[in-house]
Symmetry: C2
Subunit: 129 residues, 2 copies
DNA sequence: ATGCATCCTGTAGTAACTACAGAAGCAAGT
DNA sequence: ACTTGCTTCTGTAGTTACTACAGGATGCAT
């Protein structure tokens, strides 16, 4: 059995976050030692890592939970997984488009600054009606 | 004088958000009518729009406030504005890099799904140690 | 016995809003 | 005058996914 600090190191999920997941019912309540300390099995470390990987890919916590449940389901759940993945990909691409436009607008604004004149082109742009 | 609903329409900032800005001291407390309703002048609409524009460019609220203060300052503040702009641009570009990687990883994962076989490549990838 | 690291629970804070509830005001039509 | 319906008011709580304590208990090595 593994204590929470080691579980954190093994899974990459911070101690506070592991406790938070337990509080919120994202993961099951961990076993406790005689003195009340949490104890984790390999399976639970695995689960934490799975959730971590989903989160790193930008899935929301509810999505991560859904994926974990699908991964645990005995039946074939590939279609649902694909649907979740594609939906998320759509979101990511839309965010990407936004961010690209933003980068363009900002870099234009800032590049105009490099002329050391008296008025500020960037402030003017922000002021513009 | 303009009521809050009209101010919202003119500035693109929602009513609740305008009240929130006032509560938080982002903008000055608006004048009140005899019956206690907020009343806005053109200048205040302008200010709301300025802040809205900053927010749309992804500046934080504190940054937006700083930019507004710089815009109101009589002295030439172009350098400070440029510094804020460049710092923000750096953040945006770093976020953009992250999101591009994410898009790549996700689209690879999802594209593997299109083979209609029995096991799920995406779940396998999420499971992978 | 003494440190020191680790752990516990419980609470509050983060960013920037958003969403009510419950009451009051305003404007138009009858 | 009265009703209907829209707008506004204050105040509070909820959102996402954590993070950061405070104050105290436990475990382990010296």
């Amino acid at each position: 059995m593994i204590a929470i600090g080691e579980a954190s190191r093994l899974s990459g999920v911070s101690i506070e976050t592991i406790r938070y997941y337990e509080r919120e019912g994202i993961i099951a309540r961990a076993e406790r030692s005689a003195s009340g300390r949490r104890a984790y099995s390999d399976t639970e470390i695995f689960e934490l890592r799975f959730i971590k990987r989903c989160r790193d890919l930008g899935f929301s916590l509810p999505d991560a939970v859904a994926l974990r449940d699908l991964a645990d389901a005995p039946n074939n759940s590939c279609e649902t997984v694909e649907r979740l993945g594609r939906a998320h990909l759509t979101e990511v691409r839309s965010k990407l488009r936004e961010l690209r436009q933003l980068e363009k607008a900002l870099s234009e604004l800032v590049s105009n600054c490099a002329n050391g004149n008296n008025d500020c082109p960037m402030l003017d742009a922000l002021r513009a009606s």
